[in-house]
Symmetry: C2
């Protein structure tokens, strides 16, 4: 078993897909832009452990603004190491070496390694596991260290982290003299499992099991929930709580309101929830691969399915965004999915959709189902890809589906809480790891293709080297040509994802035998048998459905809107291409099925990448009949049809494309269904 952050090294992107374009931009521009931000904000040199003026900023209890600096650097190192292999750059190389050196030098005698509790509050270690992100930061440093080792082939960063893990393992655990705690922000669980898989570190595995199984134990520490116990120990009033907690004791904020196995719906901070479930899925993957047995694995799997279904069926935006509620950066009630803050919320944090990709990748390994692949792709091309400008220099944290005067569509150079930009970098650095799963199983080779693009994977089997190449103009066209090279005597099964939005309409060339001995399509994957691929090492899948389609939200969302999609791409309208718009498309209606939608191929000159715009007619909903308060009885009027006026041409662009073309920052994904 290997994680995508390792297996990506077997994949080479080819051609000029938008994935290649984006990877090149991150390598050439983004990593350096982020490095520049590190230098101007104080992050770059922070592990020299000198005082920085930011440390005096106590404006946001309990989280000081520098609390995530460790993880910002770690995620950047991780991304940099992924890219150095394919896009070597001396400046990046030097910066990685410098930061790693300072991290090594910042480690304390006993192995402790954390900026805040070394420089700012040396006496406070482990006193606030709920809020203070010590374990989260450590997790990201572990992931950086593993990436670093894989590229540099040395343990300069891993060594101090292993020492730190050893310390942590002495602090946390079921033994009486240890803290019965679990991270306020899950992350380290995923990192420790990578550490275990790559190095065999037993402490790492045991810790993760403990963190996952202990979480939400209402009597875990001296008969109390750990977070309540530690708050008492801090002599905090039970009513003192971070702003993310809507009320005292709302431990669902960080998924600690109940043991994970008892959680019926997905709740709270969405990144925390998804990181946590990814670790759970990792444990199940490891069991499946025979690496480590898991207790109650069928219950854990049912929990994963239950929470995934709740998320995807009732709490996910059409863009793959999750989290409607700003206050806790997380999930609202079922079907509560307003498009914008002026309509009640929409958070859709970039990191949360990246985390969905993490979880989907694991679920695909446990249980091959196109449902996971479809969502992974949806997130990638929409809520994730919109998070960086095409020039690679600016980013989003929140990804609303509709703008408003208070929250315009745009991007920022940086954030004080800068989790998202380096998360984007490291995802794109390891993106090859998400395209396919492959390997040997009971003497036969398999390649399950999840994402289409132009790329080649090469891996070793007991028979020798297997290579599969795919070529396509994805996501704009559904024709994907494959070439398989395999040693003699290799029997390889290839499975190809058939996205749900194709309605299973596709052709395969050469075609399958008229009566295959097996059901060729199961749970969203087309299976090509070893005989077929041996006979046809060159084959072409042609997926239909690459025409514009209108999507309608579930009625319980109370969104009287429609969304325009094409293939895996979700579209939006913005004022840059529709300069007539003045009110964030709040009153703009379209007529699915009545007004035709025309496609137009375009090229974005700065990167040379192609994209498709969609063109149809739009109308404006007249509110003349809705003069406020005309009845003096609330915002109502006496009945009648809504009047649509001012027929116009409207241009839709991919959601990821938004806020790259100037304009006033007016944008909307779902327009009124006229």
């Amino acid at each position: 078993m290997a994680h995508p952050q390792v297996t990506f090294r077997n994949t080479t992107f080819t051609g000029n897909s938008i994935l290649v374009s984006r990877r090149n931009t991150v390598a050439s521009t983004t990593l350096k832009a982020q490095l520049e931000q590190f230098k101007t904000t104080g992050r770059y040199t922070c592990f020299e452990l000198k005082w920085h003026p930011t440390y005096d900023d106590h404006s946001m209890w309990p989280v000081p603004k520098h609390l995530f600096w460790d993880s910002d650097l770690a995620k950047w190192i991780e991304g940099a190491c992924y890219f150095l292999e394919s896009h070597y750059d001396e400046e990046i190389d030097d910066a990685v070496r410098y930061i790693v050196k300072t991290i090594r030098s910042a480690q304390q005698e006993d192995g402790y390694l954390n900026l805040h509790y070394t420089v700012v509050d040396p006496k406070g270690r482990w006193s606030n596991i709920r809020d203070m992100h010590e374990l989260y930061n450590c997790g990201h440093l572990i992931e950086a260290a593993l990436a670093h080792r894989n590229y540099y082939k040395n343990n300069d960063l891993l060594e101090p982290l292993i020492k730190y893990v050893s310390l942590i393992s002495n602090v946390f655990g079921p033994e009486n003299d240890k803290l019965h705690a679990y991270p306020g922000h899950p992350e380290i669980e995923m990192a420790l499992l990578r550490l275990y898989v790559e190095t065999g570190n037993e402490d790492a595995y045991r810790l993760t099991r403990y963190f996952v199984e202990e979480r939400g134990n209402s009597t875990g520490q001296d008969g109390k929930l750990y977070y309540d116990w530690e708050a008492e120990k801090r002599q905090e009033s039970p009513w003192k709580r971070p702003s993310h907690y809507p009320e005292a004791g709302a431990h669902w904020y960080n998924q600690a309101h109940a043991p994970i196995l008892e959680q019926q719906t997905i709740e709270g901070h969405s990144v925390r929830a998804l990181y946590l479930l990814t670790a759970v899925a990792d444990l199940l993957c490891m069991e499946k691969r025979g690496l480590a047995p898991m207790n109650k694995s069928s219950e854990w799997l049912a929990t994963l399915h239950r929470l995934w279904d709740n998320m995807v069926d009732k709490k996910m935006y059409v863009t793959g965004g999750i989290g409607a509620i700003k206050q806790w950066e997380g999930f609202g009630i079922d079907y509560f999915l307003p498009q914008s803050t002026d309509e009640g919320g929409c958070y859709s944090e970039t990191c949360a959709s990246i985390a969905i990709m993490f979880l989907a990748e694991r679920l695909l390994a446990i249980d091959l189902d196109g449902r996971y692949g479809d969502v992974m792709e949806l997130c990638l091309y929409n809520n994730v890809m919109t998070a960086m400008s095409l020039d690679g220099k600016s980013f989003t944290y929140v990804n609303q589906l509709g703008s408003s005067e208070a929250d315009k569509s745009g991007r920022e150079d940086w954030f004080w809480c800068a989790c998202c930009p380096p998360n984007y970098s490291r995802l794109f650095g390891s993106l090859g790891g998400y395209l396919w799963h492959y390997g040997e199983d009971q003497g036969e080779t398999y390649i399950n293709v999840h994402l289409y693009t132009s790329a080649r994977v090469v891996f070793q089997t007991t028979h020798g080297t297997v290579e599969l190449e795919q070529q396509s103009h994805w996501p704009w066209d559904g024709t994907v040509s494959f070439t398989l090279q395999q040693p003699k005597d290799t029997r390889t099964t290839v499975r190809l994802r058939i996205p749900a939005w194709t309605n299973s309409t596709f052709t395969l060339d050469p075609p399958l035998p008229e009566k295959p001995k097996y059901n060729p399509i199961s749970k969203g994957y087309l299976t090509l048998s070893p005989d077929y691929v041996a006979a046809n090492p060159n084959f072409t899948l042609k997926l239909m459905g690459f025409t514009p389609r209108w999507l309608e939200p579930h009625p319980y969302t109370s969104q009287n809107t429609v969304f325009l999609a094409r293939g895996p791409i979700i579209y939006c309208a913005e004022d840059a291409q529709n300069p007539w718009e003045t009110n964030h498309f709040k009153d703009v209606a379209v007529k699915p099925g009545q007004a035709a939608v025309r496609e137009e191929s375009r090229v974005w000159e700065p990167t040379g990448e192609s994209y498709i715009t969609l063109h149809t007619k739009a109308w404006t909903r007249s509110l003349r009949a809705w003069k406020d308060g005309q009845l003096g009885t609330g915002p109502v009027r006496e009945g009648g049809e809504v009047e649509l006026v001012d027929e116009r041409d409207i241009v839709f662009v991919p959601y990821y494309f938004r806020a790259n073309s100037g304009g006033k920052g007016h944008m909307r994904v779902g327009l009124i269904k006229g």
Copy 2:
């Protein structure tokens, strides 16, 4: 100038209107049911100042459950005193006398009079003005005392309250040695102004002016906002905050985020907001009547209009309910008006709509505009009247427009925070005060009729006694017959409200002269000149619009629903009359304009009151096409029309009528527009 709680004594309800029916029920049943609750919960004897087990309950910081007991008793006394005059009852009389005696005996040497800080926390007086309701409780006791004096013609209750006000006046004020505070929960401001008007108590007037003008002063106490200053003095972390505060420092919760004159939108806890604005309006009324000059009165009036408009045009439910958000029992963002908790919220507290009536009554006195009268009536017949069962024994606190499994439609016998039931009683006790404004102005008499029913008002003028009687079957029929009796030489102008929902269609009999010398209709009122009424002491207004009408919510509310109304009554569907319903009418659609609506007159046997049911056709929205997650991309489907199936008869009943006929507690006001 006199308040409706005084002027109601000039009005006698006649006939058998639903107002009479409800008043009789309160007098015969409700006051005693509430008294019984007082006896079983410990409230009744609390001013004997013995310990009660409830005082040990610290489950809800910072508010102990007994914190409002003073006000519960006070509101009940107030309501009882209003009713004793028209519905004398010995048990009620005895209970009032007993409670008043204990309140007198509970007053401390220096005049202090508060249960919690006398029995439970004697050292804590005035230490938490933000949360602890001392001034709120005092306000209700003042109102009780004034009602008590008007009925009993003695000062047994008023005397201790005047002493308490004197103490309060030494504690709060602009002087350096006083607290620069203002009530966390406004109420006392209204009470003090009544005290001033009825007794001339100058302290009372000065205190209210101070509370209103000082509110929200960001540097009021030692350079800080008072609530921040006192929290520091309590050595509270700035992050310790009641659950109603969504985040630390969210002083908009109690309208203290800015000086009132600078508040642009109505925010926070809705009862607090409305009590506060009622006091502001009272101050303006007093200025208008020459009782006391006000600084910046045009700015204050503009503020009232601005906040009223924001509330009515963008934050009010069609039932007259306000407050979409449960967490702070108050206003959400503009146009955020979901019908039920499972759709994102709906609070619509009973007390809040009662408070709208308070404010509307004052605004009508300042500026005669049917907009205020329409809303006053809307609140009365819908969100307020639904708050008590027809048998007078059970009540609501929250008045959702749609039920859900977690929040069924129903009522409770009582609440630990029991503000609403006695508020209902005292409103109905003083209801006559809301029907009309009347008096003399520059030698001429005027009667402005705001609410139609069957009732008679008698008042004195310099010329002698004037009497106006109205008779109607309101709210079921729009014909209202008037009889005016006035002394010779009296010139009386009568103004009649023409509700906006009539679209100004009405007839007057005898008709006005063909070319009246004045514009007979202005801002929703029809003016009958002294000449007209002198010539026609018997006249009949026939208002049209008493047919069912469909109302549509503003598109920005994202409610794809319609509401059924008739006259001032808003209707709902409930399963008791529609036993086929199984899902809270969440998927039930109606077709305005396509399916006819038929009326049926009925009688509610227990009280003999009449009401009208509305009958039309309904369909069920099929969700078959919405199989969750069919696209694996969130709760969406590929386009198509929503299918309506299962045509059925549906019965609508008045919203106030809901939850009186058994059933499973399924109810909804707004149904899908099919």
